[in-house]
Symmetry: C2
Subunit: 132 residues, 2 copies
């Protein structure tokens, strides 16, 4: 009974749901800085939420030098398959924006790999007042 609860909990946070959505719909393995730039959330939050998603068994990761690529684990049972479909079926503006940001961000990959780190400098350390 713990497992499904933990899965629902993992998806109960907006940042985590946004991350899952990008991983699931893109089908790609994305590094922390790409997710940071796409969601426009502080890097340390992305990192923390990735850890929670991983602990819940929804994602896994693969290290490549300084970069850690996270990807959605292929659903191991019906329950996870349905949740995955549920995430895909969401139609929210925020998610569409994230996906656009990701598309743009993926353009700067070199040979299919991230080489740049976080481009939106204000997301690295401190959260600034947004003057946009």
């Amino acid at each position: 009974m713990k497992e499904p609860i933990e899965t629902f909990k993992a998806l109960s946070d907006e940042t985590r749901l946004r991350i899952m959505r990008l991983l699931v719909v893109s089908g790609k393995a994305l590094c922390c800085c790409e997710l940071t730039d796409s969601l426009e959330e502080p890097q340390y939050n992305i990192s923390r939420h990735l850890k929670i998603l991983k602990h819940a068994g929804l994602i896994d990761e693969q290290k490549e030098g300084r970069w850690v690529y996270s990807y959605a684990v292929p659903p191991a049972n019906q329950f996870l398959k349905y949740l995955c479909e549920a995430v895909k079926s969401l139609d929210e503006e925020q998610l569409a924006r994230d996906e656009q940001n990701l598309q743009a961000r993926l353009q700067v990959r070199v040979n299919g790999k991230c080489t740049l780190g976080i481009l939106k400098a204000h997301l690295i350390g401190v959260k600034e007042a947004s003057n946009e």
Copy 2:
């Protein structure tokens, strides 16, 4: 974005997930005391969790005299349909026990309606040490 999050949150609690499961798989409208006897959780908790599920739009209710019958709302979109299927697909011992308790409890309905209140007296007010 608030809505899917609230839905996931609603399903992130064990008691609520158990309630939803009973409502979804039985397809019936169940009153608070039937759920209390089935889940063997204090009545006031069942009541509170029903309120949360209702607020999340997953269930609705229908009053009949002193009884309040809650039922799973037919999923209004793909997202909810998938979640509903996910809940149905769960295979947990606890859920099986709940369903057995419910079947037994439904036997005592008269003309398809509950007439008895809570049968397991210790679930009414105070939570006692279980000597079973």
